[in-house]
Symmetry: C2
Subunit: 416 residues, 2 copies
C-alpha cells in the first residue's frame, strides 16, 4: 500500500540531525507513505516514481509527527473521581488513603478485573489516545502488585498488539509496596527480583523496568537492587523520581544508565548534571502537577539551558492525572514551565521517542521513518499549545493507515 | 417533531426549586422532547400519551443540560498565538503592547475583515462550542471600537441566528479606548453614549451592554455614565470588573443593578456583599487566570459560603483564554477554586442561565424547558471535571434536534 498526502498547508518536525529543540518547517510539502514508512517528503516536483494506490486530500491541514506519550498508566480498572473531589475539598492524602484511596484503591480494583475486561477497557482508552494525535505510548503495569496481577496487566497490553496505537510496555511492579507486604517489604522486593522480573522477561512482556522512588515508597538503595536485577535480566530502565521530594533519584537514574527519569519536580542541580552526563532523558509530567493542585513545576528552563533532553508526557492515570491530552501538557509546559512552541513540540515527538529508544523509527517526519502523521486544523505548530483544552486534530495516520478522522457537526441522525 | 431519548444511564441537573448548587440525580429516566421542549422526564412507566416521531438510543450515556457559556468574545479575526509565546518567554504586557499586541491587535485585524469573513469564522467557532457540549453562549462584540466595526461584529452574530448554537449578544464597545481616541477619551465615551448605544438598540443587535472597568482602561465613573445611558436605552448590564486590580467594579455592578459581573479575581469583601444584596451573578473565568499564568483565582468558596450565585465561563478570546471548553473550566474551578462537582455543574448550567436571564427556559432538565441536552460517555457528572482536557461528549441536542455526535475511531477512509 502506497499513499500520497496532498494539500498539506505546511508541516513542522524535529529531525535527527538538528539540535534537540529545533523544528524544521516545510511549506507546500507532500508526503508519500509506502509499506507504512515515509518514502518521500518534500515538494511535489521532487516526487520519485512510486506506485501510488491512493491519494489523500489533506484540505489545507497542517502536519506534525504522530505524538508520543512516554509515560502512561493505562492498565487500571475503576476511575477515582471521588478522590479527586475529596482532595479539592481539602482532604489530605493521608485521609484519602485512610478512606481506602490512592494507588492501593486501584490495586484492589485491578485484582478483581478479568484480563478480558481489562482488554476491553484498554481498547477504548487506546482509541482515545489516537483521537488526540498520540500514535505511540509507553504503558506501565503497576496496579497489580502481585505476580499474577502484574502478569495479567502486561498480558492485557500484549493482547492489543494489533491495535493501531503502538505500545512500549514497562513493568512497574515496584509502584508501591502492596498491602499484604506492608510489614515485610523485603519479601516483596525478593518476589520482584526472584520471580516477577524473570517471568516478565521470559514471556517477553516488557521492555522496561520502572520503580517509584519516593519517601515512604521505595528507597534509593532498594531501587538500586531491583533495577540492577532488571538490567541484568535484560530490561532497560526508567524511574519515577523526585516527584514530591528531592531524594537522589535522578542521581540513581544516571548511575544505572537509565533511559529516562520521570516527574523530577524536585530534582537537584546535581541530579540535572548527572543525568545530562549519563544521557538520561528528562521526562516531565506537568499534568500531574496541575491536577494535584501543586505549584512547583519541574525546572524545564534550567534543564534546557544546561543541555538536557526533555520529553513531556501525560502521566495518564486515575489518581494524579486523568488525561490523554499531550496538547494540553504542551500548554501547561509553555505557561508554567516557560517552554517555547518548538521545545514543546520536540518534547512530545522526537525527544519522547528518545525517551523510549525509538528515535530511529518514530518521532519525526523524515524519509525512512514510520508514517505516523497527525493532520491538524491549525495554521502552524505554535497554535497547538495556544488553543487549549480542545481537540484540534483533523486526522491521524499510523504506519501510513488512517486511524482517526474528526466528526462533522450538524444534524447527523442516528435514530432507531 | 417529538422524539424520545431512551437508554440514558442517568441524568444530573439543577432545578429551579432547588438551592442554587444542588444537583438532582435521576436514574433510569427517559426524556421526551416535543416541539423543541422537554415534554416529559422520568421513568418510562410514567410517559404520557405523545405522538413519538423517533426514538433515540442513548446506549447508556449520561445526560446533563446543555452547557451555557455566559462570557465569550467569539467575534475576532486573527488568533494571537505569537503573543502567547512571547508572554511565556517572559515578555511583559507592556512590551507586547509596544510590539503591536493586546486587544488593539485584535481591533486592527477585525477592522480589516468583511462581515462575510467574520460570519464564516463564527460558523466554525460555533460548531466547536456544540462539540464540547455548549448549547448557548453569551457573545460580546468589542474588537471593533468604531461605530461601523462594532455594528459589523454584532450583525455577524445576528447573521447566524439560524445556527443551532443559541447566542445572547452583548455590546462591548467599551472594551478599550481605541487608538485614534487615546488623546481624547471623552470623545469616544460620547460616541458610545450618543451614537453607538442608540444604534445597537434601534437595530436590536444586543441584549446587554458591557464594559471593561480596570486601571488604564475605563474608570468606575466613566462606566457609571456609559452603563446608565445603556440602561436607559433598554439594555441590561454586565461588567468586566476586578480582574487585575480591586477597583470598586463589583460595587458599581451592584449599584447599577447589573445582571452579571465578570472575572472578579480581585473582588473585595465589600464587593461580594453588595453583589449578593443586589442579586448580581458572580461570573468567574478561571481559564483566563490559568492561561495568563496567574495564580490568584477568584474567591469562589467565600462567594458560595456567603450565598452568592456563581457562573463559570470560558472567556473564549484570542488574547487571554483561547478555549471553548467549559469542562476544563470546571476542572480548574475544582482544583484551584475548591469547587465541588455539583457546584461546578450548576455554574455552567442553571446559574449560567441566571447570568443571562434565561433560567426560565434553559439551564436545567425539567418539563417545559428547552430540550437542550448533552449525552456524555461518563458514569456520572462528578466525572466531567475529573477526566480533563478531553472531550467526553457523546452527542448534543439543541431544542430537541441532534446537532453533534462524536466520531468513531478506526480506518474511516476518505481518499480521492
Amino acid at each position: 500500500m502506497c499513499i500520497l498526502l496532498r494539500n498539506i498547508s505546511g508541516l513542522a518536525t524535529p529531525a535527527e540531525e538538528l539540535p534537540p529543540y529545533e523544528i524544521r518547517i516545510i511549506e507546500d510539502a507532500i508526503i508519500a507513505a509506502d509499506q507504512g514508512k515515509i518514502a518521500y517528503i518534500g515538494p511535489e516536483s521532487g516526487l520519485p516514481p512510486l506506485n501510488i494506490d491512493a491519494v489523500y486530500n489533506c484540505r489545507g491541514s497542517f502536519a506534525t509527527p504522530g505524538l508520543i506519550d512516554s509515560h502512561t498508566h493505562p492498565v487500571f480498572s475503576a476511575a477515582r473521581e471521588h478522590e479527586f473531589h475529596m482532595r479539592n475539598a481539602g482532604k489530605s492524602y493521608a485521609e484519602i488513603a485512610a478512606s481506602g484511596g490512592g494507588i492501593r484503591a486501584s490495586v484492589r480494583e485491578l485484582r478483581k478485573a478479568s484480563i478480558e475486561y481489562l482488554v476491553e477497557l484498554l481498547r477504548d482508552r487506546f482509541n482515545g489516545f489516537l483521537a488526540l494525535g498520540t500514535t505511540t505510548i509507553e504503558a506501565k503495569s503497576g496496579y497489580g502488585l502481585s505476580f499474577m496481577d502484574e502478569m495479567k496487566s502486561l498480558r492485557a497490553l500484549k493482547e492489543l498488539r494489533e491495535h493501531p496505537l503502538e505500545v512500549i510496555p514497562t513493568f512497574l511492579g515496584a509502584h508501591e509496596i502492596p498491602d499484604e507486604y506492608r510489614g515485610q517489604r523485603e519479601s516483596y522486593i525478593q518476589l520482584l527480583i526472584d520471580e516477577m522480573i524473570p517471568a516478565v522477561v521470559s514471556e517477553g512482556l516488557a521492555e522496561y523496568c520502572d520503580i517509584f522512588v519516593e519517601k515512604n515508597v521505595y528507597t534509593v538503595e532498594e531501587a538500586r537492587r531491583i533495577l540492577t536485577a532488571a538490567k541484568n535480566a535484560g530490561l532497560a530502565l526508567r524511574l519515577h523520581v523526585d516527584q514530591l521530594t528531592s531524594g537522589g533519584g535522578a542521581e540513581l537514574a544516571a548511575e544505572l544508565g537509565a533511559v529516562s527519569a520521570e516527574h523530577l519536580d524536585y530534582i537537584s542541580d546535581e541530579g540535572i548534571d548527572r543525568m545530562i552526563e549519563a544521557g538520561v532523558v528528562f521526562n516531565l509530567l506537568p499534568g500531574a502537577v496541575f491536577f494535584l493542585g501543586h505549584t512547583k513545576y519541574p525546572p524545564a528552563r534550567k534543564i534546557i539551558d544546561k543541555g538536557g533532553i526533555i520529553a513531556l508526557s501525560t502521566d495518564f492515570n486515575p489518581g494524579s492525572s486523568m488525561t490523554r491530552s499531550l496538547p494540553l501538557m504542551m500548554t501547561i509546559a509553555c505557561v508554567y514551565m516557560g517552554m517555547s512552541a518548538d521545545e514543546a513540540l520536540a518534547s512530545v515527538t522526537l525527544n519522547a521517542a528518545r525517551s523510549v529508544k525509538r528515535n530511529n523509527i518514530i518521532g519525526s517526519l523524515e524519509a525512512g521513518k514510520q508514517a505516523d502523521i497527525v493532520l491538524w486544523d491549525i495554521p502552524g505548530h505554535d497554535y497547538i499549545p495556544y488553543h487549549y483544552g480542545e481537540n484540534l486534530v483533523n486526522c491521524v495516520f499510523k504506519k501510513g493507515r488512517l486511524v482517526y478522522r474528526k466528526p462533522e457537526c450538524g444534524d447527523n441522525r442516528e435514530f432507531d
